[in-house]
């Protein structure tokens, strides 16, 4: 009866609570997951659904931020790391030193959304330069009127994820040029929920976080169309625009990184296969954009063949630029061993 109710609720809320539980398995074990608060809702949904079929496997999901999650992951403390940005060169080096091998698996796409209060009717679009002016330490914009004189002369209340957040790292990469830094009077939190509450409470606020948090709170927030520097068009982070790449440069893939040694454990193997097998459903359930089928197939292949390493760094430890579809293939893999 509870399962029927849950399924109905799931349908109403807008996403399938899909998996029909078969005979509960006797498989036991513990899986430690930590990392991004952006990816957390998907992993949480996966863990909850997994628990229906495998009630004896203990999946604990912590939220220390992408950076915090990686710090533990590269020391072998966690089995899976949620990440809203690819692994960095420093983290990769630490993994190498500690003998940790991993498989990089994209699970969803995110249009990192810049949001404002619904009463903010004047900011009809923003360019990357405007974001720079608002968010940089020496940026020119402290009031809305600094960007456009027609806008209200009110101080902008700035919200941002904290420094352990992958969303912060990703935004920093796009918006903050080398040698510059964020302003220090931003209101920060590793928990995106806190940011949502913040922006919904202040008419002159601005913040950014994963699209899923925006869609979940659509009634209380307004996403600002971002001007794509290549096409000059202002685009909203709607799923179709994220998939075809027109919501740029703030589209990004979301990953889970799985420890190769942990994958030998049956419970971890089952969970990751389960997660990847249904990641489209989970992504939709929490209002993220599912990864395109082709990339999903490549990911399944990586998992099956246990192809470890990252595609986002070169053999010299330099960052690789490019979109997920271009980079994510076996020939770009650089492993820690």
């Amino acid at each position: 009866m509870r399962k029927l109710f849950a399924a109905l609720v799931g349908l109403i809320v807008g996403g399938p609570v899909a998996v029909a539980p078969a005979q509960p398995s006797a498989l036991r074990g513990t899986i430690a997951v930590d990392g991004s608060s952006t990816v957390f809702p998907i992993t949480e949904a996966a863990a909850a659904a997994f628990g229906q079929e495998f009630p004896n496997v203990n999946v604990t999901v912590a939220v220390s931020g992408t950076g915090g999650g990686f710090k533990r992951f590269v020391r072998g403390e966690t089995d899976i790391s949620d990440a809203s940005r690819p692994i960095s060169a420093d983290e990769f080096k630490l993994a190498k030193e500690n003998g940790v091998q991993f498989i990089e698996l994209p699970v969803a796409l995110d249009g990192l959304s810049v949001v404002v209060h619904p009463a903010n009717t004047w900011a009809t679009e923003l360019r990357i330069e405007d974001l720079r002016a608002i968010y940089l330490e020496d940026g020119a914009a402290r009031k809305w009127s600094d960007i456009n004189p027609a806008w209200p002369a009110e101080t902008i209340k700035v919200f941002s994820p904290g420094t352990d957040s992958g969303t912060y790292d990703y935004f920093k990469e796009v918006v903050v040029p080398k040698g510059k830094s964020f302003r220090i009077d931003m209101s920060t939190s590793e928990d995106d929920n806190v940011l949502v509450t913040g922006v919904t409470g202040d008419k002159y606020a601005i913040g950014y976080f994963g699209a899923s948090y925006y869609f979940e709170n659509r009634a209380k927030l307004r996403a600002v169309p971002i001007v794509n520097p290549e096409t000059g068009e202002a685009v909203l982070p709607e799923p179709d625009d994220v998939i075809d790449g027109s919501y740029s440069p703030l589209s990004r893939p979301l990953f889970i990184y799985v420890n190769l040694t942990s994958l030998r454990r049956p419970e971890v193997r089952e969970f990751v296969e389960f997660y990847l097998g249904h990641d489209g459903e989970f992504a939709e359930q929490v209002e993220f954009v599912p990864i395109p089928e082709e990339i999903g197939r490549t990911a399944a292949d990586f998992l099956k063949r246990r192809l470890s390493g990252t595609t986002y760094l070169t053999a010299d430890g330099e960052k690789r630029e490019g979109r997920l579809a271009e980079l994510y293939s076996p020939e770009h893999l650089v492993d820690t061993k």
């Binding site: 509870r2 109710f5 849950a6 609720v9 799931g10 809320v13 609570v17 398995s25 006797a26 498989l27 036991r28 074990g29 513990t30 957390f40 809702p41 949480e44 949904a45 863990a47 909850a48 628990g51 203990n58 999946v59 604990t60 999901v61 912590a62 939220v63 220390s64 020391r75 072998g76 403390e77 928990d191 929920n193 806190v194 949502v196 509450t197 919904t200 979940e216 709170n217 209380k220 942990s262 030998r264 454990r265 049956p266 419970e267 971890v268 193997r269 089952e270 359930q285 929490v286």
Partner: protein, 405 residues
């Protein structure tokens, strides 16, 4: 002045009029102030009532059976409070087991064994002041101390991955074969070499009953008979090491587990238990003690057979109130455990845990209205538990009041 002149002064009409006006004014002020006091004091009661009623209204609808028995979930309709309730229960039992004996013992020696020599008196006074000061330390400071002292144990016992000591766990290599059956192979310890499937090895099924494992080569055909297939493994299969942690599982360092949380919480509660127990002991009239001493009992006998039983209701009341404080404390637990998505109640002392106030904090932070309703429901449960505790304390106080005077 002459007496006559005094009277003239006192009966002077102008003066009298002024005096009468001033008295009237003062009485008016008095009544105004009285009403002001009543208003303000009732404001406190009204505030309390508003809080309780408001939370009840917001939350009682969500206190369903599901809520009380299910684990938390991203879907508000399915989310439950169960692991948090169990975590709080475990914590409560542990904190009581640690603080009550220690606290009452410390109170006894501070109240009943007052020293006479100067040096001991100084020590006694020092300890008492120390305890009073400890009661005033913010609980979050205890949290941060607990982080170093209990979670990582000053780094003296290694870290969670390489603990210095680990007992109470059975280790198995768990195989999950192609027929989705679990096959367990017991191993000696966490560092034992990985099991390679080979014929004749000791194997158990998921219910820990022995079975004869059927080992086939990597390219051999899978057996058709389902009974055989259920215990078949390929020689190239991987296993995962699981530790079946019994209830008695212990590991040093404690890590961010239940025991570390309980010990940190005990630090917060201990001064309160000591102080309330001291007051309960102080309330026992001296006549009782003197009577016992007069009969020739030693001090120890007096304490344990006369004073302590007489003070017991007061001590119990104090203990109950201290425990109700423990249930509501969130700050130290926040530092120790953090915010984790946990679906299981704790199974042993080293397990990750959550507690009622932590889960409430988690839900309160979310912007969606549904989670606020869940937080309110959690608060209803928490306040309900506190109500039971406080009620018990009041009942004890009423029943045993007047005894032993």
């Amino acid at each position: 002045m002459t007496p006559a002149a005094h009277t003239v002064v006192l009966l002077d009409p102008a003066r009298l009029a002024r005096a009468r006006r001033s008295v009237a004014a003062r009485h008016k002020r008095e009544r105004a102030f009285q009403w002001f006091c009543v208003v303000v004091a009732s404001a406190c009661v009204v505030m309390l009532g508003a809080i309780v009623v408001g939370i009840l209204a917001a939350g009682i609808g969500s206190v369903t059976r599901t809520f009380l028995t299910a684990p938390p979930s991203p879907e508000p309709a399915e989310a439950g409070f169960y692991p948090a309730i169990m975590g709080s229960v475990w914590l409560l039992v542990l904190v009581a087991a640690v603080t009550l004996p220690l606290g009452v013992a410390a109170a006894i020696i501070l109240e009943e064994y007052k020293p006479r020599r100067r040096l001991s008196r100084l020590a006694h006074g020092f300890i008492e002041t120390n305890i009073t000061n400890l009661a005033g330390v913010p609980s979050v400071v205890y949290g941060i101390v607990g982080l170093t002292a209990f979670v990582s144990m000053f780094g003296l016992f290694g870290n969670e991955l390489n603990p210095a000591l680990e007992t109470g766990a059975g280790y198995y290599d768990q195989f999950y074969n192609e027929a989705d059956q679990v096959i367990l192979v017991p191993v000696a310890g966490p560092d034992a070499p990985e099991t390679v499937p080979r014929a004749g090895m000791r194997a158990l099924n998921a219910e820990k009953r022995p079975l004869a494992a059927n080992i086939i080569g990597p390219d051999d055909p899978w057996p058709d008979d389902p009974a055989v297939a259920a215990r078949t493994l390929r020689s190239t299969d991987f296993s995962g090491r699981i530790s079946e942690r019994t209830v008695f599982y212990l590991r040093l360092p404690l890590g961010r587990g239940l025991l570390a949380g309980a010990l940190t919480l005990s630090l917060v509660i201990l001064p309160i238990v000591i102080i309330t127990s001291q007051e309960a002991l102080r309330a026992v009239p001296n006549s009782l003690r003197d009577a016992a001493l007069g009969l020739g009992a030693t001090r120890r006998r007096v304490v344990f057979r006369v004073t302590l039983p007489a003070a017991l209701p007061g001590i119990m009341t104090g203990a109950i109130l201290a425990m109700s404080r423990a249930i509501g404390e969130a700050a130290p637990l926040l530092m120790i455990a953090g915010i984790v998505f946990i679906t299981f109640p704790p199974g042993n002392l080293m397990d990750d845990f959550t507690a009622m106030p932590l889960q409430i904090y988690n839900w309160a932070q979310r912007p969606q209205q549904e989670f606020h309703e869940l937080a309110a429901a959690g608060i209803v449960v928490l306040l309900g538990v506190l109500l039971v505790f406080n009620g018990a304390a009041i009942v004890i106080r009423q029943r045993f009041q007047g005894r032993g005077s």
